[in-house]
C-alpha cells in the first residue's frame, strides 16, 4: 500500500512536470516574452562588445598578454552569435516587437563586425589601430545599452 501511494505521488509529479514543460515549450510568443528575449539578446551583445573593447584597450596598453585578448574576443564573438540566435528564434508577434527587432538586428550585425575588426587588429595591427577600432565601436555599444535601458 505504501509503495502504491509513493508510486501514485511519483506518477503525479511526472505528469505535472511533463505537462508544465509541454505547455511552456508550445506556448505562442507574446509581447512580454519577445521583449524579454530581445532585451536579453541586447544585454549579451552589449556585454560581449564592451568586454572585447576593454580587452583590446588593455592589450594596446600592454596590460594583458595577447593570448588573453584573443580568448576574450573569441568569447565576445560567441556572446554576440548567441544573441543573434536568440533574437532569431521567434518571430515578433506584433508591430511593437517588429520595431524592436528592426532596431536590434542591425545593431547585432554591427557589434559582430566590430569584434571582427578588433580580432583583425589584434592579429595584424598595432596598438594605435587597436585603440582606434575599440573607440569606433563606442556608438554601437552606447546604442545597445540604450536599447536595454529603454525596453528592459
Amino acid at each position: 500500500m505504501r509503495a502504491r501511494a509513493w508510486g501514485a505521488v511519483a506518477a503525479a509529479v511526472v505528469a505535472v512536470v511533463w505537462g508544465g514543460v509541454g505547455y511552456l515549450s508550445t506556448r505562442p510568443t507574446d509581447f512580454h516574452s519577445y521583449r524579454v528575449a530581445a532585451v536579453g539578446s541586447a544585454q549579451s551583445a552589449y556585454t560581449g562588445l564592451v568586454s572585447g573593447q576593454q580587452a583590446s584597450r588593455a592589450l594596446a596598453a600592454s596590460r594583458i598578454p595577447p593570448p588573453m585578448a584573443t580568448a576574450m574576443l573569441g568569447d565576445s564573438r560567441s556572446a554576440i552569435a548567441g544573441a543573434q540566435k536568440r533574437l532569431a528564434r521567434d518571430a515578433p508577434p506584433d508591430e511593437r516587437t517588429t520595431a524592436m527587432r528592426d532596431e536590434l538586428a542591425p545593431l547585432l550585425l554591427q557589434a559582430d563586425a566590430a569584434i571582427s575588426g578588433l580580432e583583425d587588429a589584434v592579429a595584424h595591427g598595432g596598438a594605435v589601430e587597436l585603440r582606434a577600432r575599440a573607440d569606433a565601436a563606442d556608438p554601437v555599444a552606447d546604442h545597445l545599452r540604450r536599447f536595454v535601458e529603454e525596453h528592459g
Partner: protein
C-alpha cells in the same frame, strides 16, 4: 611547527574550497549587477561555514572518524543514502565545473579552446591524486591560491568610488533595472557557494587523513576561523572588482576573462599573471577536493577502505570511485556545456541539497556517544539552528527563483 603546518589544510580548504569557480562566478556576477549590495551574504556564508566546519572538525578530532561515517551509523543507511545521493551528485557536478574553471584559466594563457584543455587537466588531476603526497598538494595549491590577494590589493588602483560602494553595502536590495527576485536569486547562489557540501566532507575526511586527535582541536579551529574568513575576503575581491569596473557601465560578467580582467586593468600583466595563477590554483585545488570528497562519501557510506594516504591497491574501490567521478565530470564538460552555466546550475542545486548535509552534522555534533562532553554548547546549537533555518529557506526558494528569474535573467 606541526600545528603551523596543520593550518595549511585550512588555508587549502579555504582558498581551494571557499574560493572556487562558484565563488568566482557568483561573486563577479553579483558585483557587476548589484555592486556590493550582496556583501552581507558573504559575511553570512562565512559565519555559516565556520559554524558547521567547526562542528565537523570537532567531531573528527574527538571521535577520530569522518562525519559521513557517523551520519550513516547515527541516522541509519536510508537517511545516509539520501544524503549520499544528494551530496555526491552536487559534488560531481562541482568537480566538472572546477575542471572547466582550470581549463578556462589555461585558455586565457594560451588562447587554445578550453575544451582541448579539459582531458589534459583531468589527466593531471588524476596523476596528482594518484601519485603526489597530500601535504605537497596542500602546500602547492594553498600557497599559489593566495595569489588571489592581488584582486583585493588591485581594487585600490582602480580608483573606486568609495561613497557609491558604501551606499551599496549599507542599502542591500536591487538596483534600478533589477528585481527583488533576481536579487534573492544571486543571494542564494552566493550563500550556496560559501556553504558547498563538499567543503565539510573534505575538511572532516582530511582531518582523519592527518590523524587528528583531541589535541589537534586547536589546529582544527584555527583552520576554520582563519582559513574560511580569508577565503571569504578573496571571494569578496571578485565582487568588489566587478562592482568597480562593470557595475557603473551596466555590463554583466559571463566569462572568466571578464572576471579577471580588472586585475590587468589595475596592475598590468603582472596582475593578470598572478590572478590567473590564483584562479588556476583555487580551481585545481577545489577539483582535487571535490574528486576526493566524491570518493570519501561513497567509500564511507559503503564502509570501504578509503584515504588518499592509502596505497591504491589497499583502497582500490575508493580510488576507482575518484576516477569514475572524474570521468563523469569530464563527460559533463565534453557535452560542450558552458562551464560558467554549469556552475550557475550547480550552485542552485547545491542550495537545494544543503539541508541534507547540515542537518545530520548538527545531530551528530550533539551526540554524547561520539563526543562525550565536547558536544555542542549553547552558542554552537543556537548558531546551528539559526543556520538550519537559513539553509532550509534557501533550499525551498532556490528552484522557484531559478524558474521565475530564468536562472538570474
Amino acid at each position: 611547527m606541526k600545528k603551523f603546518l596543520g593550518i595549511t589544510l585550512g588555508i587549502l580548504t579555504a582558498v581551494g574550497g571557499f574560493v572556487d569557480i562558484g565563488d568566482i562566478v557568483s561573486g563577479s556576477q553579483s558585483g557587476a549587477r548589484f555592486g556590493i549590495a550582496h556583501v552581507w551574504v558573504i559575511v553570512v556564508g562565512v559565519v555559516g561555514i565556520c559554524v558547521y566546519a567547526e562542528m565537523a572538525g570537532r567531531v573528527t578530532a574527538i571521535s577520530g572518524r569522518p562525519v559521513f561515517d557517523l551520519v550513516r551509523e547515527r541516522l541509519g543507511p536510508r537517511v545516509a543514502l539520501v544524503n549520499l545521493l544528494g551530496s555526491y551528485a552536487i559534488t560531481v557536478f562541482t568537480l566538472g565545473a572546477e575542471l572547466g574553471g582550470v581549463a578556462l584559466a589555461l585558455q586565457l594563457l594560451s588562447s587554445a579552446p578550453y575544451l582541448t584543455w579539459v582531458p589534459l587537466v583531468a589527466l593531471l588531476l588524476w596523476l596528482a591524486l594518484w601519485r603526489v603526497r597530500f601535504e605537497t598538494l596542500e602546500r602547492i595549491f594553498g600557497l599559489a591560491g593566495l595569489a588571489l590577494v592581488v584582486l583585493v590589493v588591485g581594487v585600490f588602483w582602480l580608483g573606486p568610488d568609495v561613497g557609491a560602494l558604501r551606499h551599496q553595502a549599507l542599502h542591500p536590495g536591487p538596483v534600478p533595472g533589477e528585481t527583488w527576485a533576481t536579487y534573492w536569486f544571486f543571494a542564494i547562489a552566493l550563500f550556496a557557494s560559501a556553504m558547498t557540501p563538499y567543503e565539510v566532507f573534505f575538511f572532516s575526511s582530511g582531518g582523519v587523513e592527518e590523524k587528528w586527535t583531541p589535541r589537534d582541536l586547536v589546529v582544527a579551529r584555527a583552520n576554520v576561523f582563519l582559513g574560511f574568513p580569508l577565503g571569504g575576503l578573496l571571494a569578496f575581491g571578485f565582487m568588489v572588482n566587478a562592482a568597480v569596473v562593470y557595475h557603473p557601465i551596466g555590463m554583466r560578467v559571463d566569462t572568466l576573462g571578464q572576471a579577471v580582467l580588472p586585475a590587468g586593468m589595475a596592475l598590468g600583466e603582472l596582475g593578470i599573471a598572478l590572478i590567473i595563477l590564483g584562479v588556476f590554483a583555487a580551481t585545481f585545488g577545489a577539483a582535487m577536493e571535490t574528486g576526493l570528497s566524491a570518493g570519501y562519501t561513497v567509500a564511507q557510506f559503503f564502509g570501504w577502505s578509503w584515504g588518499k594516504l592509502r596505497r591504491p591497491r589497499s583502497a582500490a574501490r575508493f580510488h576507482t570511485t575518484v576516477l569514475v567521478s572524474l570521468l563523469i565530470g569530464v563527460a559533463a564538460l565534453l557535452t560542450t556545456i558552458d562551464p560558467i552555466q554549469l556552475t550557475e546550475y550547480m550552485l542552485i542545486f547545491s542550495a537545494v541539497a544543503l539541508p541534507l548535509t547540515y542537518i545530520p552534522i548538527l545531530v551528530v555534533a550533539n551526540d554524547r556517544h561520539y563526543l562525550g562532553d565536547r558536544v555542542n554548547g549553547r552558542l554552537a546549537n543556537l548558531m546551528g539552528v539559526i543556520y538550519l533555518v537559513i539553509v532550509v529557506a534557501a533550499a525551498v526558494a532556490a528552484i522557484p527563483l531559478m524558474v521565475f528569474t530564468r536562472v538570474g535573467g
